[in-house]
């Protein structure tokens, strides 16, 4: 069971890497963005804060993102979680004629490592998650700067506890086009 999980995770990771590598070399519009995120899990779990970066391609109506972020449970609570997340998402921009701001929606695959800290112990492990995103995206100034603000729901089973990760994550990102 554990071996098959590792095999599936490896294959999915390599497929996502290969996909982005091909996308990045084939498309001319790729931005590198810094990300900040705030996760509010469901249940009696403290909030987690953190950040990371993502590479985002945005064409006329398609957007593809590939990013990494780390969230640390810092809220004084009985239980808190540290989450390390490498994600791959594909979405649609819902307004083709909007240059400076456009709504978008996306779905993503997340490779997660979650550590749950309890008063007497910490349990940790890796898993996969699925995420749904809605938000706004746009360009700034001379169109070389891109911004994004979104709310997402990350669904996964927490390793060690079997709980539903759940909760909403708010994130903002700002970056510059690196391939034009």
């Amino acid at each position: 069971m554990r071996t098959s999980f590792h095999t599936i995770t490896s294959l999915l990771s390599l497929a996502a890497l290969a996909t982005l590598a091909g996308t990045a070399s084939a498309d001319d519009d790729l931005a590198l963005m810094a990300t900040g995120a705030w996760m509010m899990p469901s249940g009696e779990i403290g909030e987690s804060y953190g950040g990371g970066a993502e590479a985002r391609m945005a064409d006329d109506h398609l957007t593809i993102g590939f990013g990494a972020k780390g969230l640390v449970g810092r809220t004084p609570a009985l239980r808190r979680r540290d989450i390390m997340d490498v994600s791959f998402d594909v979405g649609l921009m819902l307004c083709e004629r909007c240059e400076s701001i456009t709504p978008y929606t996306a779905v993503g695959l997340d490779i997660l490592h979650i550590t749950t800290h309890e008063p007497t112990r910490s349990v940790r492990g890796s898993t996969l998650g699925l995420s749904g995103h809605v938000g706004l995206m746009g360009r700034l100034g001379d169109d070389e700067w891109i911004w994004r603000a979104s709310a997402s729901y990350l669904g996964a089973i927490v390793p060690g506890t079997g709980e539903d990760l759940g909760g909403v994550t708010l994130s903002i990102a700002v970056g510059k086009q690196i391939m034009d």
């Binding site: 390599l14 890497l17 640390v72 490498v86 490779i111 997660l112 490592h113 940790r124 890796s126």
Partner: protein, 208 residues
Amino acid sequence: MGQMPRAVWISSLLVAAGASTVAAKPAPPDYWVERPIVIAGDPQPPPPDPEPEPPPPPRHASIALVSGGTTFASDAQTALERFGPSGTMGFVHLSHRDEPGVEVLAGATGGDRGRSYAASVRLVITPRVRRKDAIAPFLALGPAFAIARLDEGDMKGSGAGLGLGPSGAIGLHGFLSHRVYWRASAGFTGAGIGTFNTDLGLGWVIDK
């Protein structure tokens, strides 16, 4: 009265000499240039060798990288407590064109709370970085494997085993010279224990 015509005559000669000096054509610049002697029927001399073309700029860099840093991991009481020092070595392959790079890194970290050996294969996304670019941002992400042992209190090896998970880093990198590469990064290895890390590394370009 008899002296006047002589003075006029001498003045006229001086004026004429000055005017002829001014009006004289300068000598052609190659008037005295030594020329090779050409004899009818001799073959034409060979043309001079063309200037050698400069070598094309390198299209990529394969780099052997060594870095050191510090790792952090939360425990039940404290968020992001220092876990221990870390060392990493591996290879980075960067394109000098608008293409992502790839890196393969192996690292070890350890301290009072455990030990972890990890390997990762990551995509490196960066703006075009050439040998003359000293600084550029980058994002690296991909899967990682880790063999880890976790110690809790007096219980050594309370958790141990092989783990697989995500790995990512953001930072700055560039070339200090044609051969010397540097990077500074912060990231995480989400396999095994699950540690956050900061690193500073130097690399040597092993291809031309």
